[in-house]
């Protein structure tokens, strides 16, 4: 017998949010500071929301702010598709729909307490990681050494520049950055993000290692980490898929048996053994 649910909440019904601030971070990335009109968004680092524009559609976007950020929440949205193109036209005061936050596979904010954390970020992969990074920085005493490795394609695509500068000036964290192609005015490291790994190899052994970047990056980061023979349960990968419904029904985000919108988007590397489609 099927039972009627007493809670009649429509899982597909977006709630309204208002744009508090909208700013381009670089040519393609839009920063949005949002506040829910009703109940504030309840979320943890690694979760995502479905951003909804009436008549246009929905797109999954991972939350860029930490839950310690109490004034609404932040998203960074790349202009790549129908919905995100339209989102880029939003102005402060405009309304949009939000569903979520979604995802049970999230960053290990509790498990990582007392341990070293090494964030490996590629390009826009900085955005989901930032939620966890800022959470850690806001609870700095709870965690061991914190290292942030960031690789960006080129200098002009770097974003959150004020934050990157602040990170580089902090003495209680180590922030190392590189660009794939260095322009003349770039004084820093040149090369893909994996070239930064040997620099911090002494810290790798027992660290929690969250990784996020474009699909192609994971294979290379995992290959680079392989030689240090790290326990796979220490590595966390944020796996982007087509999370259309966000609630484990529509089937588009499935990796083998797993629905990324439900079981992810953050997965322990050790759980991916049975998911050959993951990497």
């Amino acid at each position: 017998m099927i039972k009627q649910n007493t809670v009649e909440k429509d899982i597909y019904l977006p709630q309204l949010a208002t744009v508090k601030k909208a700013a381009m971070l670089n040519e393609t990335e839009l920063y949005l500071h949002l506040a829910m009109d009703g109940q504030p968004l309840d979320y943890v680092p690694g979760q995502f929301v479905e951003v909804s524009l009436a008549g246009i559609g929905e797109a999954p976007v991972t939350i860029a702010s930490s839950p310690t950020f109490k004034d609404g929440f932040e998203l960074v949205i790349r202009k790549v598709g129908t919905v995100t193109n339209a989102v880029h036209k939003l102005q402060p005061g405009d309304k949009l729909g939000i569903r979520g936050a979604f995802g049970k596979g999230v960053y290990p904010v509790e498990e990582a307490k007392g341990r070293n954390i090494i964030f490996i970020c590629g390009g826009i992969g900085l955005v989901p990681q930032r939620s966890f990074i800022n959470y850690v920085l806001d609870n700095r005493a709870d965690y061991g050494d914190v290292i942030i490795l960031l690789g960006t394609k080129c200098q002009s695509q770097r974003f959150f520049l004020d934050e990157l500068k602040a990170w580089s000036q902090r003495s209680d964290i180590q922030f190392i950055e590189t660009v794939d192609q260095g322009e003349d005015c770039w004084k820093g490291n040149v090369g893909v993000v994996t070239t930064l790994i040997p620099k911090i190899k002494s810290k790798l052994a027992s660290a929690v290692i969250p990784v996020c970047g474009p699909p192609v990056m994971y294979k290379f980061v995992l290959m680079a980490l392989q030689e240090y023979e790290l326990p796979h349960e220490n590595i966390y990968l944020n796996l982007e898929r087509k999370m259309k419904c966000g609630v484990g029904k529509c089937g588009h985000c499935q990796i083998n048996h797993s629905y990324v919108c439900m079981d992810g988007p953050v997965f322990k590397y050790s759980d991916l053994g049975v998911m050959p489609e993951a990497i």
Partner: protein, 249 residues
């Protein structure tokens, strides 16, 4: 916000797709409310050189047509190919299978050598100019046309199916026409028509063009299973698929 200016032009075609627009009935008024139609030979006498969106019916079959479409392209921000002649060359492309002099003679007889009857190989619009959007079909589907126009006016990319006609045909609960002995092109032709022909018992003729990645091997395979020859299949594919890679495969 000023309304987008739309111009509708035709090249080699039967004007049937434009007729579908005229036949929108009530929705035509909605369309005309939402946009500013500045040129449309089939429906009005005004002309204009200033437009945001050019909607083009027909294929390019004469050298002078190439020049004309290039001028239109240079004036339009968005260029939309309307119907099979524009998107894939349509039935007009059948002539590319023959010697052009023979074609002319066959069609025009004694007048074949008149200069205004000059002809060239048929081209789809995107063989000559950049096409931003394609509205498939012979004729176009009115519902799809209005959906695409509304989407573009909202600044959104319309979802045009990547998948074949079978998807819509099965969703409609149609029995398979192959089981009734018809050589239906549904499995390799782009959906979006709502499986219109098969829903009325006619095989898919392929007017919306091939899906991006048609499995022609599979088509040959089933042809054998149904006791037909690949020539039969090819002859069906030629109507809308002349001089296209999957047809020749």
């Amino acid at each position: 916000m000023s309304k987008p200016r739309i111009a509708i032009f035709d090249f080699a075609c039967c004007e049937g797709c434009q007729l579908q627009i005229v036949n929108l009935e009530e929705e035509l008024l909605d369309l005309i409310d939402a946009v500013d139609v500045v040129e449309w030979r089939e429906a009005m006498s005004e002309q204009s050189h200033e437009y945001d969106i050019a909607i083009i019916e027909g294929s390019i079959t004469r050298p002078e047509d190439e020049k004309r479409i290039e001028v239109i392209r240079s004036r339009a921000k968005i260029l939309i190919a309307l119907g099979a002649c524009a998107t894939i060359g349509g039935v007009n492309k059948l002539k590319n299978n023959f010697d052009l002099a023979d074609v002319k003679k066959c069609v025009y007889g004694k007048s074949a050598d008149m200069p205004h009857l000059d002809t060239a190989l048929t081209k789809a619009l995107d063989e000559v100019v950049k096409v931003d959007y394609k509205i498939h079909g012979c004729p176009i589907d009115r519902k799809e046309f209005t959906y695409i126009v509304r989407s573009l006016l909202m600044g959104k990319t319309p979802d045009i199916p990547l998948y074949p006609v079978c998807v819509e045909c099965k969703a409609k609960g149609n029995p398979c026409l192959w089981d009734e002995g018809q050589v239906c092109l549904g499995p390799i032709i782009r959906a979006g028509c709502g499986a219109r022909c098969p829903s009325f018992g006619f095989r898919c003729f392929g007017c919306r063009g091939y899906v991006d990645n048609p499995n022609v091997n599979a088509a040959k395979d089933i042809i054998e299973k149904y006791g037909l020859t690949t020539d039969v299949l090819k002859s069906k594919m030629l109507l809308f698929g002349s001089m296209q890679e999957p047809t020749n495969a």
